[in-house]
Symmetry: C2
């Protein structure tokens, strides 16, 4: 196969790709992740690049007029047939590192909500014990494993001791290396222990575990000392599957349309996780084989892709996953950088669109122990929620879409440097804003978009339906795709462009907030409860932490309840995983918790649609639901 | 690395080996297994070859004078430094296919001894069931696995259903392929079932299993229909590990002395087994993935090598194996040609020299259910035996050495074509004999050697100590290594040589038979029983089936009890494995059986040595033990 040389600018890196490859392939080969919300279908228009030297074929697709005029083409639809070519891959078309929510107050939250669950410290997933064996002789000639088991039975108070095949292979050498002293790491079950690692001598290092949250957008890990329960190190990054589409649906489409698509999506998420782990290990100076257990929380699609399980029926009515519970997998089966026989536990899901991340989050909240009704909302790419108390729990997923993560919004972006996260427009249409890292503005992230919706309405720039009004400022203008309001002028922006919000953007945001609120309303109706029955609302998810509560209520995204009813619990999925990693009993409890949730399929019947239509106003057609909102 | 071309004669095959390789390496590269009883150490002198063209270095070692005179060298110590070379690898130096004991009366034997164990047909290791599922909808939206488990719980009457990771991956496609009809194969446990295979549609083929006997010398497999319990097909061959030494000790030495030695010994036995399985599958037109379970019986060293477990301490006092019980391994972990998630069960061992093959054989005999004492002897490369009844069982291993398999005997060989298996010398020293396949004689196999010992003594050629006497025949002569008797003259032999038995050969045979008898005696002494307390003697092992009972008693190998006390049970290891494969309860029973045997370490104390010295006569120094033997 003929190879074509592509020079990546501005770095000047050279890569070779097969003839007929796309420029997106060339970027991947160079280790550059491009923005491809559509999964490389030519429809999102985000991977714009410019050929500086040489010629490429194709490159058409949904390009903005400005980009077209400036000679940009799409990397995903442009192929190289002869070389060499030199191509500029501008920063604005690349996905860069961004803020991933990592919390440092996990211990506190767990202590607050869950103290009683941790009283039984005997329920550890992993135990590491030092053993001194007696030397065998012709009369006392039990096998090495029998000798070791006898000692372990006493130490672990467990009758049934087994050993992994790999650990058995070298056991004879290990027990003799340091004069019959060994340190063994055991995976614990209710009434059994499996030896997975034997170290020669008496070794003091603790057994380690990893809590893992695989979000559609971001991935976070926490390294945990399983002996003390202390969190040692956290790390996070964006999910590199983003190059296969922004949301779960486009990722599933990718697995169906690409040859080896499922294998690719699995590999890329595992590579991402391994990269995070390697950084953690290097920082803490530990080796992968010291990690014996991993607890994974993720939505149902992410778990299917992580494990390489066929996901296609998740996106087809009636939306059936392969399974809602997952086998315990060994490290070596996935190639994850932990001990080869380390156990990987996955939180059970409730349904295709209420996954293990929600069960994990619900576990963290402790709502299943309350007498009063609590509402847990995880606002990410989807909006999932659980409403319940100790008697009854209901959950649902409303397809809010990725608007709050910047998807489908002209200048929407994730919370990276230069993203507008707070914004105020005063009555004279003067705009003030704050960006992430105070970098020159290049776009708007979720919390900025909510502020924006509120402030546009407050300043009278949009009406209750979200339609743009004729207002006396040159910031209001007719753009390529209809009316738009200039938030940041090109001369002060970080990308030399006017940063605008369009009427279509506003409509997308209203759809998203309407879906979330309609979901809450339908659950309340099904349970025959008024909004006031809710005594606490817990907001989780990467985006939740940066959200302006007042503005969210004012636009009708969240119920009009006093601020003290609300708690922001951060990355509840990761925290719940951390919590479950500390105790088998807690994990078992979470399995029961998942089973105890009644799943409400919103696409079944008309109730959701009716509520959704009513919520397509700012804040709502029924203003009595939002008494604090002035009109 | 420079490559040297070696032409293998008489075939004329050409192979390339790295400079510095031995001619043994060249033979291996050409797929030829040479006789190397010593494991390629230059000491057994069996891999004699002749360079026809070109030059090689070395080739020295324990060569016979005749071989040396004829220009032969040893393949194992000869290295090639420049090429090309042409080398004759004579048939007499190669290991060829030979008789492997395969029995067709297994069902009968099992029925006879074990009828009661098979009444509970619910204890199958594998069940294959057809399931018709109801189609999901928005209200009935359980996951595919949950849907399948619900049905299986009813069919299998088992609460706890799991699915293997591999089977889960494609489950969504399988259930939908034939309109929600599937056939699932489950590995069964006491109160749980694991789905390991899902076939689309309603499939009629039964679940299959493999019984496997890994002997030091031979390997045998039986394909079993696990639904009916019928044996479908058997196959056997020699253990290709023979190129690494004839006995377990030299194989362990090989793993220690060669780089990657353990990996090599494991690979070669797995290749041998896979070759046997492939032949069976082709004959029966089934695929490896249709085989869901495998039951393995083998001695302790063979199991260690099969699983790649460090074996070195088995041969060092106090003779400790890594384990006497082995984890259940999946097909994919060993690369065995069965279903990737098929379960491989290994019989537990008792000690380093009483292995799972003896537990399997003991299971077959049913001796643990008898009121009277039964003796089970497996005569292979070692002589292992179990003496016991329902109250008490004792077992031991006497290092008989490989004499009865032809090891250490000038013209000793395995029971291949041309091996003398029966022999009579009359008072005029006329020799008549029968060979395997009636081929021209090339050597003597085990049963022939026993006959030979008896007939040499009867004809007065040797005395009770095994010393050769001056007798009036030109068949008696002084050979290179002392007195020898010509059994077959060169003109009628199949290899152009006089086939002789030497005084040293006789001594080796007497050592071997003395070890077996001394083992029996020490067990009787420990249990304070006279020989007459034994009511049945069961002879197992590949060699046992061809053994002349009368001659064996006359030379003092076996106790002097009436012929009707004896039963020849053939390959008891394979038969026991077949039996256990049919029922989890039987296998569990065999684990208890193994635990119930008291292991007698013969090297501990002087009793064995004293008995051994007394047995170094024909038949024994204490003639009262052999009343039927005339002197």
């Amino acid at each position: 196969m003929e190879k074509i040389q592509v020079t990546i600018m501005p770095e000047g890196h050279q890569v070779e790709v097969e003839k007929g490859s796309t420029l997106l392939d060339a970027a991947n080969a160079a280790g550059i992740t491009m923005k491809t919300s559509c999964g490389g279908q030519g429809t999102c228009g985000r991977c714009a690049v410019k050929v500086l030297n040489g010629a490429v074929q194709g490159g058409d697709g949904n390009l903005s007029k400005t980009h077209k005029a400036e000679g940009y083409i799409l990397a995903c639809t442009a192929t190289v047939d002869e070389g060499p070519v030199t191509v500029d891959f501008p920063e604005s078309s690349r996905l860069s590192e961004h803020q991933v929510l990592l919390d440092d107050n996990v211990d506190d939250i767990i202590k607050e909500n869950r103290t009683d669950d941790f009283e039984d410290t005997e329920a550890a997933f992993v135990k590491k014990v030092q053993v001194t064996l007696t030397e065998p002789n012709l009369m006392e000639n039990a096998s090495d494993f029998a000798r070791l088991s006898t000692e372990l039975r006493g130490i672990l108070e467990t009758e049934h001791i087994t050993i992994s095949y790999d650990a058995l292979k070298t056991l004879p050498l290990k027990v003799r290396e340091q004069n019959w002293q060994v340190t063994v790491t055991c995976l614990m079950q209710e009434d059994a222990a499996e030896i997975i690692r034997v170290e020669a001598g008496l070794v003091d290092t603790p057994p380690y575990g990893i809590a893992l949250d695989i979000g559609t957008t971001t991935i976070a890990v926490a390294l945990v000392d399983l002996a003390t329960g202390k969190k040692i190190h956290q790390n996070g990054t964006f999910n590199r599957q983003a190059s296969m589409g922004d949301d779960v649906i486009s990722r599933i489409v990718y697995t169906e349309e690409e040859k080896f698509g499922l294998r690719e999506t699995q590999s890329i998420v595992i590579e991402t996780i391994n990269g995070l782990l390697d950084e953690v290990y290097e920082a803490e100076n530990i080796r992968p084989e010291e990690v014996s257990a991993m607890m994974v929380a993720a939505n149902t699609t992410m778990i299917h892709l992580f494990l390489g399980i066929e996901p296609k029926f998740i996106r087809r009515e009636p939306y059936i996953p392969a399974s809602a519970q997952f086998p315990v997998i060994k490290g070596k089966e996935l190639g994850i950088h932990i001990h080869v026989d380390g156990a990987i536990y996955c939180f059970p899901a409730v349904a295709s669109y209420v996954g293990g991340d929600i069960v994990s989050g619900a576990l963290l909240t402790g709502l299943e122990k309350q007498e009063e009704f609590w509402l847990f909302i995880d606002i990410g790419t989807n909006g999932e929620m659980v409403l319940g108390n100790s008697d009854l729990m209901m959950c649902c997923a409303c397809s809010a879409g990725p608007a709050f993560e910047g998807g489908g919004i002209t200048f929407g972006m994730r919370a990276m440097a230069g993203a507008i996260e707070k914004i105020v427009i005063d009555d004279d249409f003067k705009v003030s804003y704050v960006t992430v890292n105070n970098a020159p503005a290049v776009g708007i992230c979720g919390s900025g978009l909510i502020d924006c919706l509120f402030t546009l309405r407050k300043a009278g720039i949009i009406n209750r339906q979200g339609k743009m009004q004729e207002v006396a400022t040159d910031r209001m203008r007719q753009g390529e795709e209809g009316p738009e309001f200039v938030l940041v002028r090109a001369e002060e922006s970080g990308n030399g462009k006017d940063i605008v919000i369009t009427e279509a953007d506003v409509e997308n945001l209203i759809r998203a907030k309407a879906a979330v609120f309609a979901g809450i309303r339908v659950m309340l109706l099904k349970m025959e409860l008024p909004i006031e029955a809710i005594s606490k609302i817990l907001i989780g998810g990467g985006f939740g932490n940066y959200l302006n509560l007042k503005d969210s209520i004012q636009i009708g995204l969240l119920p009009d309840l006093p601020a003290e009813y609300y708690d922001f619990i951060g990355n509840s999925s990761l925290k719940g995983a951390y919590m479950a990693l500390l105790s088998r009993k807690v994990f078992e409890h979470s399995v029961e918790l998942g089973k105890g949730m009644t799943y409400l399929e919103l696409s079944d019947g008309n109730e959701f649609y009716d509520e959704y239509v009513q919520a397509m106003f700012l804040p709502h057609t029924d203003m009595s639901l939002f008494p604090s909102v002035e009109d």
